[in-house]
């Protein structure tokens, strides 16, 4: 049986065609607030149950509880506050407000509470730092410290060029059932797979029925792989190196916070809602810079015996010349001089120079895919 949704029920807050038409026809009667893309994506995730049991952005009681205990007031594990800052607009508690992005009506919120909160406290507790250079902290500080909570209803989704490869929780759940998978491991990524990734996935696959590759669609930095490159690379890898019916890929649209350990737990919760029973947690998962120790994201899971999804902790894989294969610290006794570490940066540099990385770094089929794109990398901030 696939994992039960977090908090027990899969949330669905998506308007029917009829309701949507009615709301759109009455739209001038509602106050409006324009929200940035990452918040619009959060709203979609709430509506489709990716953030179950959430029904809307958090209120002050929930926020305090999450910051202090990493749990919702009803004891359900929850580590990342989902917040809706009050950017603009003349509305108050009890009002229904239309939330727009670039003028498009994304959702309606029935405002439950409007409250002030100390952003420094949020930063310190969620990100373990108040350094404005941290991308998550920066975003938090750039925005108002007044927040809006309340149940939402999704009116219209944002355009998604990968809509056909972005399955919703109710779809992945049916998919896993159809595949006959009872245990599924989720693997989060933003990269073209090298052999280190493949070994993590396959080690996990040894113990479960299926693998969900769950690449995050979202803002990219220059030098990141384009999403279509990641998709094509995995399709090729599945075709040549995975037994049939053991692996699927579905994107997840999600704005990264880079909150390290707390975010690793959130990543696991989202995959649980997609139906995964296991989740692969790597080195410095969801980290950035040097804000977190490499295995902080492993330790935090000790706090959650009731998470309802089993974390699988992976150390780094590397190539050992003496072992003659891809191994990790737990199974290779040899010294650093025999080891060749996988480095995404190094592989990217080689690709840029048109050099073929060694076969134990990157499958040649995958290399061919990457090479077939005129520019596989993002050039400017998107």
């Amino acid at each position: 049986m696939v994992a039960k949704p977090h908090g027990g029920r899969l949330v669905r807050l998506v308007s029917s065609e009829k309701t949507k038409e009615r709301i759109l026809s009455e739209q001038n009667e509602y106050p409006r607030m324009e929200v940035p893309e990452d918040i619009a994506v959060d709203l979609e995730n709430i509506a489709w149950g990716v953030y179950s049991p959430l029904r809307g952005p958090h209120n002050s009681e929930e926020l305090s509880s999450i910051l202090d205990t990493m749990r919702l007031p009803d004891d359900t594990p929850w580590t990342i506050p989902i917040l809706l800052p009050k950017f603009e607009g003349d509305f108050s508690e009890g009002d229904a407000v239309l939330l727009t992005h670039k003028g498009r009506i994304v959702a309606r919120i029935t405002v439950e509470e409007i409250y002030d909160f100390d952003r420094k406290e949020i930063a310190q507790k969620v990100f373990r730092t108040t350094d404005p250079k941290h991308p998550g902290v920066k975003r938090l500080f750039e925005r108002p410290g007044i927040y809006v909570s309340g149940d939402i209803l999704l009116i219209e989704e944002l355009p998604n060029p990968f809509a056909n490869y972005t399955l919703k929780p109710h779809e992945t759940r049916v998919l896993f059932k159809e595949k006959g998978w009872k245990t599924i491991v989720g693997f989060q990524t933003r990269n073209v797979p090298h052999l280190g990734h493949e070994y993590v996935q396959k080690s996990a696959l040894t113990f479960v029925d299926g693998l969900l590759i769950s690449p995050v669609l979202g803002k990219k930095k220059p030098g990141d792989y384009r999403d279509e490159v990641i998709l094509k690379a995995y399709q090729t890898l599945f075709e040549h190196y995975y037994p049939k019916n053991t692996a699927v890929l579905s994107f997840l649209r999600y704005p990264m916070r880079y909150a390290g350990p707390r975010e690793a737990v959130h990543h696991a919760i989202m995959r649980k809602n997609l139906g995964c029973t296991h989740f692969a947690v790597g080195r410095d998962h969801a980290g950035v810079g040097n804000y977190y120790r490499p295995y902080d994201a492993h330790e935090i899971f000790n706090e959650f015996p009731d998470l309802g999804i089993t974390p699988l902790f992976f150390r780094e894989f590397f190539y050992c010349k003496k072992c003659g294969g891809i191994v990790n610290e737990k199974i290779c006794p040899h010294g650093e001089e025999h080891r060749v570490r996988f480095s995404g940066t190094k592989i990217r540099e080689m690709i840029r120079r048109g050099e073929k990385p060694p076969e134990f770094f990157l499958r040649s089929e995958v290399f061919d895919v990457v090479k077939s794109f005129e520019n596989p990398f993002v050039e400017v901030e998107e």
Binding site: E171, V174, L307
Partner: protein, 75 residues
């Protein structure tokens, strides 16, 4: 955490308390309360796990399957 309404007291037999206290020495648990909370959460989660999962209506499930088939996810 200053808000003491967030915690309440339950009673357990003194010998059990002493046993747990002994047991958690040199572990990551800092108090008997910590340990008992952990164990109870674990048990409750495993009970909830066994409850029946909600299912989709036949009609909705067929619709989802048709879409998955059209997208090439299933044969």
């Amino acid at each position: 955490m200053a808000d003491d309404k967030k915690y309440t007291t339950v009673s357990i037999p003194k010998p059990l308390y002493d046993k747990i206290k002994e047991l958690i020495k040199d572990t990551g648990f800092t108090s008997v309360s910590d340990y008992v909370t952990y164990v109870l959460r674990e048990i409750i989660a495993s009970i909830e796990e066994e409850e029946k999962e909600e299912v989709f209506s036949k009609e909705e499930e067929e619709k989802i399957k048709a879409r998955l088939r059209a997208l090439g996810y299933i044969d």
